[in-house]
Symmetry: D2
Subunit: 287 residues, 4 copies
């Protein structure tokens, strides 16, 4: 695989005239060809401005670190920007946590193996041993870290040690344990969970049973960033599938699996391509 | 328009062997050709059985009232059935209640005028005068019945008088007043409301604002039967549309209008074709 | 309604570094606040570049005509741009042509009347008298221009005279006559047609019958610009709806109507908001 | 896994009164509880009638072979039925043919291993060796049967020998060789292919390129039975996904993969559950 020479810049700042000109001038003057640019403003008068910019690094006239420092001085400060650059050449590291259901996990491993996800999968961590074989056939490390009510704190400590330096993103691919606020705080907006309902409907346990009991005509799933409040973090992606009176709860779960794995894969892909900006408890997702 | 010779039978009963044979024999023996048959059982052992049957009346060997009486004796009682027959020749009467938004109302009037809905629209009742002109261009009566907190009981009494004998179905096409439990009790599972969210998410007021604040990636609407508990009646139909960070609340409302009118039209159509059976707080909808 | 102070710029040009900077500088320097910017390149090396820019006119330092001349000199020529500006204050004029089916026509009239379409509907022209009443209830002129094989040329001449100066866009809302190449040439990429199939499947007559005979599981519709080659112009928008063995041709037509009117409305809306750029026989549609 | 005691009956016959009664009486009299019944008629007068019936075998009063013989005599002949029964206890055997793309193959293997498909996968046959490892990790036989223009007849002979007695269904999961008419004739309506376009659009080679060149706004895939005419057999299932000017051909292929594997999995599932009846060049699919 050849080196990816694309770099990306994400910006959040107060909206005011001149931002696009300032940013595009900066990159043009440094020889960085802009190949994609997307922007959004919550309100042209007094709103918040978001921008995603993709540029090519081969012809830039300096090193990345100097480019970043210069950008900070020349543009970032002037417009009170919250910004970050990332480089395709520094592939992100992704760890996956899972319990017993394999569908979301396998979908991610398969997509990663065919180059659809801009990350290296560094490990899979599970509180059960069941999926070790499936994971190892993808040549990925599998760590079994059992969790009991009593061992929970120790188990988290072990997970944190395993992840150390090896996870820019942690994906909960149907991991059935609730992470502590401390754990979550170490990976701010770097943990993505798939919830098996169309949030905010059916928060909590057994969403398919809740959906069945309510008699809804569509079931869904939601990929969101994990925050300290259960099932309440910023939503990245959602989708639904049509159901009817004919489906039992077991059938709903079967249909739901297909939605879950597709949505999680989309959310992870977008995160890895730096398409998601969190603001407040919501997300801007640049397509 | 020629007379519609289709009749329909809806059945709910405890499931046990022999029901299909008993029903189909009955109709065959009376010369009624079965042209559609749909069934559902919640569980073959001890479950509840639902059936929808369409049959043609031209060759039946007796009058409809005798057919019904004979069916009650020969089949209905034996299987402890809750059942009802309806006849295409007796077109249903539909009244529509609306406030100021015209989209759901016009959708129904258009479809009715094109012959897509198996009912005659007998009247439109509104607590505002605004839509009188639009309705009258369809040659449909428009009744303006203002509602104030003080006049609410009187207004309902007036509506009930207007509806008397002229409404087999009452459709709330964005009628912004809450109907009293007494009113609802007079039309059990004969009042259909469109709620502008994907229930059970965003119950209550301003669902589009709630959806905006939550940052959901799909917005929806729900057509349901009205019961005495607000927004909690059996769901008939739901659908969603994709949104993003780009939409303001006003845009969500605009997009939502298209969903609302389509879903309401589908739910009304299905109800009028006797495709919906309520059980518990859910519905069986035969496609 | 207050004056719309938004203006839009559409650009097509060979891709090369510096375009975004040049354009955004130009607008910044003239006091025009950029409120939306979308771009696309078919290939960063030697591709074609497309841009749509929305800007606000209140604070620009000159008249629109001077702004355009200056842009041509300072930017357009330098980058070999094909470009055009349009102003919300100059509302577009839209004429609709129709035969007997009313669904697509009414959808457009209704959306126009509630301010969803950025145009004034100047007239409806039909080769049949049937829809005069419906149209006039929207306070829109109705012209009945009958067409027979013999009178076709005269009829077109009459239509052209009616449209003269009153149509920036002509929408064929199920107009069942084929326009001559001469007619089409007078409105290059300014005539939008709705074809009742998912093109390129089922070109030509009776697409619903063709779909029925083929047994497809989805039927669709396509909004496209009209060119001299029948049903072959650049596609603006398409959508589909699920069908099954249960639908007769008549049912397919009924379901298809809903798709047709929605798609046509979307395509017309996008065209009017200057979101569509034609290149080759395809379109770029900025969302 | 416990023995599946469900049996299914599929019927095609000329429509006339009394069929449902005759069939349901027959099963009731033999102690077979009907747990699902679906029917369709192309026309109540002189049309063709289709029925799918699921019944439970535990309480039937005879062996399956006697039941079938009795049904033939008592019902099948009288109504000129084309019919067949199948039994959950006799699991179907499924062989998969593939070339180099793994997505459709893996989707089927995953679903089979989770128990979602009512069949045993007996083997995978490929004209390339590439996917042997992936297949063997599912404990399924992999046969590499290379095909060259010269060896084509011999290769087919080898495949036929491999399949002998081991394939009630052959699935072409992106098998890039065209099967001979002789081969196809041995498996009438027992070979399912996934075509990577929304047929009948883009028949033949490189459908994604054709879709790209045409500028369609949706791309699709089609699962169909293989007949001697290429890409023209009865369609079982289709679906589409939205695309835009932003996708290159490579992206269309990537998006298309997701559609292909889902549609093929659905079509295979329905076939295995005896939900599909072919008539003419179309299918009835009971949901």
């Amino acid at each position: 695989m050849e080196v990816d020479q694309t770099a990306r810049l994400l910006i959040t700042c107060p909206d005011r005239p001149g931002i696009v000109a300032a940013v595009s001038n900066f990159f043009y003057n440094h020889g960085a060809n802009i190949t994609a640019l997307d922007q959004h403003s919550t309100d042209p008068e007094g709103g918040t401005f978001f921008m995603r910019l993709e540029f090519q690094t081969p012809h830039i006239d300096t090193s990345c670190s100097v480019l970043e420092r210069t950008f900070a001085d020349a543009v970032g400060e002037r417009y009170s920007m919250d910004w970050r650059m990332s480089y395709g050449a520094n592939r992100k590291k992704m760890a996956i946590m899972v319990s017993k259901y394999d569908h979301a996990l396998l979908e991610l491993l398969w997509r990663a193996s065919r180059g659809e996800l801009a990350a290296d999968v560094t490990m899979v961590i599970s509180n059960h041993p069941d999926l070790a074989g499936a994971v190892e056939s993808f040549d990925v490390e599998y760590h079994h870290v059992p969790v009991t009510p009593k061992s929970k704190a120790d188990a988290e400590a072990e997970v944190i040690k395993l992840l150390d330096g090896k996870a820019d993103l942690v994906v909960l691919a149907r991991y059935m344990q609730i992470l502590s606020a401390d754990f979550v705080a170490q990976y701010p907006y770097q943990i993505i969970n798939i919830h098996h309902s169309f949030l905010p409907a059916f928060v909590g346990a057994n969403p398919y049973r809740q959906a069945y009991d309510k008699g809804v005509k569509l079931i869904g799933a939601t990929a969101h960033y994990v925050t300290s409040e259960l099932d309440m973090g910023p939503i990245i992606e959602q989708d639904v599938i049509r159901v009817s009176h004919r489906q039992s709860i077991r059938h709903l779960m079967e249909l739901g699996r297909d939605i879950e794995r597709n949505i999680l894969a989309r959310a992870v892909k977008w995160h890895l391509e730096d398409r998601v900006i969190v603001y407040g408890n919501k997300t801007v997702v640049f397509g």
